[in-house]
Symmetry: C2
Subunit: 357 residues, 2 copies
């Protein structure tokens, strides 16, 4: 049975990428060796890593003011690595608390400087993106989480500020165009739109570095990785390889403008059904804040919940259960999810409404 | 042409493991989904992670006094994470400097306590393992690098001390039996005998934890990872999967006793030829310190060097050039290298001697 993978992450990857990724495990570039067993200093892998960086630059129209790194340790490592590298003890960074990950990011930053929370929707179970806040000019940076995987909200606007934005884009990186120049640092775990789990993309405006007074372990200093083209130590070779393949696929789809239109079409299809269907309702209270990556929704009662869960499984739909802290359902629709996959989901919802509505 | 992969790491993996690893990329456990796109919270991956831990415990006869973690960031991250978690500012840890990695480990530790170098062969370009040193009883731990990938030396004995040993076993983990009870902490990047690049095995005696006063970022605290079965954040799924497959293969070979005998046989075959062949000599000055993982050797002149390099390539031998800091050759013979591969290498050496000797 054809599976429709709505997992929140690690998440669906394009079929053509998976096929090439499997071939690489057996024989990379006709070398007779596996991508898993070649040196990271081999010409094959150096070319892969260079192509990965080049694709990041192309997709985002990135200028030379920015450095690109492929690190490990996930976005959770960036929660403390960003402030360690950007913030002195006596300086202030501002955070907006839009979800569990944003909350954790702020908590981890507190060891390295003064952290001000400008706004939060925590008390309302993160059901919207807070508005009406301003970034003080003394802030060293503003930290945002662009998409909240658990709560199904997403920033569809960017604050009007000169303060550089540090942004966790783990769950919507490469899902849409972004005004790169507003960002001082962007980080994203690969395992949503970019590739498998195991590498983290970090993009930083180089002039922000080298200004903190603390002593940094070599591995936690962005400059170490920039100076060594992300090969100070053995990089996560396979995760970078598959990320490169996925970014190549994104480019082949027409780049971020085309991807954004495709994701909008999927979101429109899904949310239209959600708004029309009497048996389900979204968990996000402000419609303009709804995520195009992770629509979260609840059935109106337990009977519908169970029936829908069973019908979805029967239709080959996988990974649709909501995060344990929200419950209900979450239909993650990353780049590689085709419109047809969303149609299957919508059809199941319609069907349930017809039977039980 | 059949390739013989003598790379120092990432390194040769068993053919059967690579085949299963490629199948997993297309379809894991007949789920219709790729191992690259399933949730780390899925039952499939939770079973894989549990099996990986179980195999570590079985192969090493590990008691419940020890915790097992699969982290990311490589051994280079353990260089500072170990002292951060084990050493207070006013406490002393002892290091033995047997190579570039040992040297780096000590340097990174200096930010977190008092570091004493008990012995070093750095001035002699690391051509032997220093002897005749004692571990002071006040030492919180003794740090060793069990095998020195670049310089071709290896500890074939363990110091007689009650002080817990913290050991970087990146390049000889699972290549032989070890007296686990002597070790307080063992860490190893996967990309030699254990799997592909992208995860780091950390084994720690649990009673050593929770004794430092400093505030640790969550991701740098071993306790975080232990309490969450290495799933505090998204783990490097594929690297753990392939490591599990490789450990399963080790078990199928008869476990570490059988693997050790096999590695000894390969070492005997190679070093016998090296000692007999007039055109080559080893870089290690004390024969008892020679590595069974990474024999390093030089040709007697440039003509032999070039001829051997060409003949090796023609025989399908790959990755045999020495590290840039030593030059010459390095024939890494990790677990997955069969005796026949070493025989091909030895035959090329014999052949060169016959032609040019």
């Amino acid at each position: 049975m054809k599976k429709h993978n709505f997992s929140a992450g690690p998440a669906i990857l394009p079929a053509s990428v998976l096929e090439e990724a499997a071939r690489g495990v057996l024989n990379i570039n006709d070398s007779g060796l596996s991508i898993l067993e070649i040196s990271h200093r081999s010409k094959d892998f150096i070319a892969i890593a260079a192509q990965a960086e080049q694709l990041v630059r192309e997709l985002l129209n990135l200028s030379d003011d920015y450095a690109v790194m492929f690190l490990s340790g996930g976005a959770s490592t960036q929660f403390f690595m960003a402030p360690m590298n950007l913030l002195n003890e006596d300086e202030t960074a501002c955070y907006v608390n839009t979800g569990s990950w944003a909350d954790k990011a702020a908590k981890e930053a507190k060891n390295f400087g003064k952290i001000e929370t400008l706004a939060s929707s925590k008390e309302q179970n993160y059901t919207f993106i807070p508005r009406g806040w301003e970034v003080p000019a003394y802030a060293k940076y503003l930290h945002l989480t662009s998409n909240n995987t658990i709560y199904g909200t997403q920033f569809h606007w960017w604050p009007d500020t000169e303060v550089p934005i540090v942004c966790d884009m783990s769950s919507d990186m490469f899902s849409r165009t972004i005004p790169v120049e507003k960002f001082g640092l962007i980080y994203a775990g690969a395992q949503k739109n970019m590739g498998p789990a195991g590498t983290t993309l970090v993009i930083v405006r180089k002039d922000l570095l080298g200004k903190v007074k603390r002593t940094l372990p070599s591995m936690l200093n962005y400059t170490t990785h920039i100076d060594n083209d992300s090969m100070y130590n053995t990089p996560p070779v396979y995760a970078i390889y598959v990320s490169m393949l996925t970014m190549k696929w994104i480019k082949e789809q027409g780049g971020l403008t085309a991807i954004e239109a495709h994701n909008q079409a999927k979101g429109d299809l899904f949310y239209h059904e959600l708004d029309a269907n009497p048996l389900f309702h979204g968990t996000v209270t402000v419609k303009e804040d709804r995520s195009l990556m992770n629509p979260t929704f609840l059935a109106i009662n337990e009977e519908v919940d169970k029936a829908f869960d069973a019908a979805a499984k029967a239709a080959g739909i996988d990974g649709i259960r909501g995060h344990r802290s929200v419950g209900g359902f979450r239909a993650s629709m990353y780049n590689a999810m085709p419109l047809e996959g969303v149609q299957v989901l919508v059809d199941v919802m319609k069907d349930i409404a017809q039977k039980m509505g």
